[in-house]
Structure formats: C-alpha cells, structure tokens
C-alpha cells in the first residue's frame, strides 16, 4: 500500500514516483458514498440517504482502457465524479497518481483535475460562443498560458483529431461527431494522464461513434482511460470492464 502525503506525491511535476513498483494512475480503495449525507465526510446520514456506492475498489494502470458498465443508478456517475475530484466519497480513498484526493481541499482537487484529468462528456459541453480552437484551448486559460501558445496547442490537437480545417468554426456549425472530437481535443490539451469519458458515443450514430472510439483507443495507448457506457460497442474497446449493480462491483474482468 502506498501511503504518501499529497505533498510528496505532487512534488515537482506533480506526478508520483516512489521509486518502487508502478503506481496505478487511478486507485479506488473501499469507496462508499451516500447521497443525502451532504456529500462530505464525517457527516451523519439521516433517514433519506441513498447509498450510491458500497465498498468499491479497482485500479487503472497507465495504458489501460477500463469500461464502466451498469444500469442507470448503479453508481457509474458517482465513480466518475469521485475520480475527477468533483465529489468526495463518504468513505474510502481515491488515489490519482498516488495522491489521495479525499484529503485535499476543493481548490487542490480542481488543480489536480486540471493538470492530470481530461473529461469527455456525453453532450460535449462546448461553449457555443467560442470557436472550436478557443474551446480546445480553454483549460489552458487557468494556467495562464499566453494566447498564442494556447492557439498553437489547440490547432495541433485539432489536426490530430482530424479537424484542422474546422478550427475557427463555432460548435453550432459542426456535426455531432465533430463536436465530440473537439471535446476530446479539449480533454487532451493539458496532456492529462487520465481520461474520463461519460457515454462518449451516447449522442452519436454508430459510424460516427466508431470514429470517436478509434480516437479514444488511440489516445488510450499512453494514458489511463475510464469509459462509462451502456453501449456494448463502446465497452468493446476496453481492456477490462468493471460491472456495477446497485453500487457494488459485480465483475471486474478483461
């Protein structure tokens, strides 16, 4: 077990390296979460709490694509929230590159998310008022990276996802598949170690969905990817699928 403090874990470049065996990119250890308990730790639950997760543990190594499967309400979203640091589970630890997110402040979790996690949403969530290029460059704003550098990085990524000629288009002028590719480019712009995708093909037709999955597989070679989906085709690109039922892991198989 790795018990480093967040300070040690995020020293210098923020990436973990304890000199021992490979650190998992993501490690969930005994995660339990109850909604209605104000989402925080140490709060007693009332009668109306709903247990979303119960003792969930699994990890993802760099280079792994892990699928997250289960019906609605099985706890997929809660796991994505926990991994991205948008939520602190009631019990258990969430380690990202060796740093336990549950011990960090909201601000520090935001910083870790910005540096190490890229998120791809089902509904893209691009800013309609900004061009594809500006949308991709957005996560770099917080780091205070100058505009010319932001543009350069965004254009390179748009080239990589096959949208080099669409960089000045507004999201409204792009197809669903193109928008999702812009969103993937945005998720990659900070060069994250972990990509979290929530139903990435949910809004796309099969052929477009396949293109997006190819792209995800491609970028997944060097990173840890966690994909939540109902869709078998989407889950088929995963090296391993974690199946959830009523907040518990019922299978964790390759």
């Amino acid at each position: 077990m790795n018990h480093r403090t967040p300070q040690q874990a995020t020293a210098s470049d923020g990436r973990a390296n304890d000199g021992g065996g490979p650190t998992a990119a993501v490690r969930l250890e005994g995660i339990t979460h109850e909604y209605g308990a104000s989402g925080g730790r140490g709060r007693s639950s009332g009668d109306r709490t709903v247990t979303a997760l119960q003792d969930v543990s699994f990890d993802i190594q760099a280079g792994d694509i892990v699928g997250l499967e289960g019906p609605s309400g099985s706890g997929k979203s809660t796991i994505l929230h926990a991994v991205t640091g948008l939520l602190v589970p009631t019990a258990g630890t969430v380690e990202l590159l060796g740093t336990d997110l549950t011990e960090l402040s909201d601000r520090k979790r935001t910083r870790i998310r910005r540096r190490h996690v890229g998120i791809v949403f089902q509904r893209f969530h691009l800013l309609p008022s900004l061009s594809a290029r500006a949308n991709v460059a957005l996560p770099l704003v917080q780091a205070g990276i100058p505009r010319s550098t932001r543009r350069e990085r965004a254009e390179t990524l748009l080239e990589q996802v096959g949208l080099g000629d669409r960089s000045t288009h507004l999201p409204g002028e792009l197809s669903g598949g193109e928008r999702q590719r812009v969103a993937i480019a945005r998720a990659l712009v900070t060069d994250p170690d972990i990509i979290v995708a929530d139903e990435p093909t949910g809004e796309l037709d099969t052929a477009t969905g396949d293109d997006v999955l190819d792209l995800l597989t491609d970028i997944g070679r060097e990173r840890a990817v966690l994909v939540a989906s109902h869709d078998d085709a989407t889950l088929s690109v995963a090296d391993r699928v974690v199946t959830l039922r009523d907040g518990r892991v019922v299978s964790n198989a390759g």
Partner: protein
C-alpha cells in the same frame, strides 16, 4: 511571472465574457434594458423624493433672507389669530437700525375671503409682504412695492395700495384677470368693505404653502384684518450685511429678542420641515424605496444571468477552471451590462424627469416636482455598475460552487 499569468487569465476572462454577451445579442439587449429600468426607477423615484422635500423648502430659499424671526411653532397655514409677533414694524425697524442687518421686514398670514361678488366669496390664505420680487415668476401682470420702507411710524387703518396678486387656480375659479376688481376681507361680512385690483397672477407662495394663496401688500392685509393697531405678523425676515456672519447675528438677535425664536434660514427650513413630518417621511420613503427596489431588481437580474449560463459554468468548472475565473466571466458581463444600462438610464433620466414634471405641472400644479441633483445620478450609476458587478461576481461564484456533472447530464 504569476502577475503575467494573472494578466493572461484576466484577458481570457474578458474575452470569454464578451463572447458570451455576443452569443445572445437579444438577451444582452434585454438585460441592458432591464438595468436601464432599474436605474430609471432609482433616479426618478429618488428625484421625486428630493423634489417633495425641496418643494416645501423652496419658498424660503428663494426669499433670500438670512434670518427668520418667529414665535411659537410656525404653521404655514396659520390664520389671522396666529400672527404672534406684535408690533412687527417696530421690531423690524429696530433690527434694521443695527449695523449688521441690512434690512428686516414682517410677513403676515391670514385666511381671507375673496370674490367678485360680495355674496359669493372664496376662502383662501393670504400672505402679507412688503414687496414682491423677480422670483415670483408672474403668469400675468406684475408685483408691487410699498412706497415707504418699513418704519415705526403711523400706518393708515385703511388699505392704501388696494392691489393684490392671485394664484392661477383662484384667479381661474373666480374668473378674474389682471385689472379686475375683487372684494377681500377676513370675514364674509367685512369683505364688501374692501375692493382690491388684481395686478398679477403667480403661483409663488402656493408652491411652498402647498395650497392656493393670495399675495397682498402687508399694511393693506393688516388693515383688512384689523391688526394694524397691534401690528401683528407671523415672521420677521432679515438680511445681514455682506461682511456680517449670519449665525452670529442670529445669535445676537436671539439674545436681544428673547420672546421670539430667531433662526438662520437653514434652521428655519428645518423648523418648518418638522411641522411637515408627513412630507419628509414621504420623501425619505421614496428615496429609500428607490434604492432598495433598484438593488432588488439588479440582484434578480444578475442571478438570472448566471443561472442561464449554469451549464456552461458547470462544464468550465469540470474542465478545471477555478471559481474565480468563472465568477470573473459573469462579473465582467455584469460590468459591461451595468455600464451600458447605467449610461442609457442616466441619459434618459433628465428627459423623463422633464416630461414627468410637465405632466405634474399640468395635473397638480407643482412645478419642478422631480429634481435631479448630481447625487441622484451618482446613486443610479453606482447601482448599475457597482451593484451590478458585485452581484454578478457573487452569483457567478455561487454558480461555480454547484457545478457538477449531474448538471451536465440533464
């Protein structure tokens, strides 16, 4: 280095805010319009509040007198029985003899009966003054000036000038014009004994009494009222020499005339205002309502602006932008909308105030009911820009706090 980063972030925040505003020009225009309404509600209501308070004070201000001498609480609608200063001309003459007083003259107030037919008379307050002046703003005709300055000498028991000024309403209801003759008396029975010529029409005194009022030469009014002998007046007003200090002279006079209340003019305004708590309360309430109403409108507006962008804010938060950056984009939108709406509102204020004043003049006879001192504009501008930006920043900050993926899945 970190300063440079902050500058880069600030620039991006401003860019984001403008992009959001440009994205929905219709919504932006409506928001600007709403801020303009909030500003106008503040400036116009506050103008009305200021105007209500100042309308009561105007008559005193315009009289240009430095010192007011009265006795007992002053009631502007006082009738003949409440002219408490006895021997007013003698007191005035005594005061005028002082080196530091340039002039002093009494003012009397009586309720009189006036009419063209001795059997059909109207009751109206009358102000007895020694002279009229330019501020009277005559609608027709002109004023009067008594021949002799105020002296202690004998005054005739009968009216000598036999002229008066009427306010426009009384003139209209009596059906008289400049040059016509009217009966005047302090009772219906005595009115037929005195015939005066109408020499001018003016709303000067009715403006600050809040009711119609006739203006009559002082000695004539005393003669009509039968107070020539006791020489009664409601006030004595005095002007001090240019090199004299008003407050010092007032204090001296107060010691010398212990039976009377001697006040500098601004205190006198305060003393009269105390007699009109309702007017003061109304004015203050209007100003208070204007500010509270404007703030509530603005808070609601920017809470809505942030609410409408909650999905975008949630996405930005999820991809790692800080709450300050999110709040900043909303705050900059608030600032831009506040400046635009504020400027439009301030430009529209004098135009609308003038239009409302015209309406007020024609309907209720008060002139310049809405007054727009610089403070009114400052309050309006502060509301639009400061309140707008602060509220936008706070609502943006709150919106960032609740950003969750759930919101992004809806």
């Amino acid at each position: 280095m970190s300063l440079r980063r902050a500058a880069v972030r600030l620039r991006a925040v401003v860019g984001l805010a403008f992009a959001q505003l440009r994205r929905s020009p219709g919504r932006t225009a409506l928001t600007v319009f709403a801020v303009m309404l909030a500003v106008l509600s503040v400036t116009l209501l506050a103008s009305l509040g200021v105007g209500v308070v100042e309308t009561g004070e105007d008559g005193l201000d315009n009289a240009g007198r430095d010192i007011w001498v009265s006795s007992d609480p002053v009631d502007p609608s006082a009738s003949g029985t409440e002219n408490p200063i006895v021997g007013a001309h003698a007191v005035s003459a005594e005061m005028t003899e002082r080196d530091d007083v340039s002039s002093a003259s009494p003012i009397a107030m009586h309720d009189v009966y006036i009419g063209t037919d001795a059997d059909d008379l109207e009751r109206t307050p009358a102000i007895g003054v020694h002279e009229t002046h330019d501020e009277f703003d005559y609608e027709a005709g002109g004023g009067f000036e008594l021949d002799d300055n105020v002296t202690e000498g004998e005054r005739p028991p009968e009216p000598t000038t036999e002229e008066l000024l009427l306010d426009p309403d009384t003139a209209e209801s009596l059906g008289v014009e400049v040059g016509d003759t009217v009966y005047i008396g302090t009772s219906r029975e005595t009115a037929q004994n005195h015939e005066f010529t109408v020499i001018g029409i003016t709303g000067y005194y009715s403006q600050y009494l809040g009711s119609d009022a006739a203006t009559v030469p002082l000695t004539d009014l005393q003669a009509v009222a039968g107070t020539t002998g006791t020489d009664r007046a409601t006030f004595i007003t005095a002007s001090v020499e240019d090199d004299a200090d008003r407050d010092t002279v007032a204090a001296d006079l107060d010691d010398e005339y212990a039976a009377y209340d001697v006040r500098p003019s601004d205190e006198q305004i305060g003393a009269m205002a105390e007699e009109q708590p309702l007017i003061l309360a109304s004015g203050a309430t209007l100003v208070g309502l204007a500010i509270v109403g404007g703030i509530v409108l603005t808070v609601n507006l920017f809470a809505l602006v942030a609410y409408q962008q909650r999905d975008e804010l949630a996405a930005l938060r999820a991809i790692g932008l800080s709450r300050w950056v999110l709040a900043g984009t909303i705050a900059v939108q608030g600032l831009v909308i506040g400046i635009l709406g504020g400027v439009v509102g301030l430009v529209a204020t004098p135009l609308l105030a003038a239009a409302l004043n015209r309406l007020a003049t024609s309907v209720i006879g008060f002139e310049a009911l809405l007054q727009t001192p610089i403070e009114v504009y400052l309050i309006g501008l502060a509301l639009a820009i400061v309140v707008g930006t602060v509220v936008a920043l706070l609502t943006g900050w709150r919106a960032g706090r609740y950003a969750r993926i759930e919101q992004l899945e809806g």
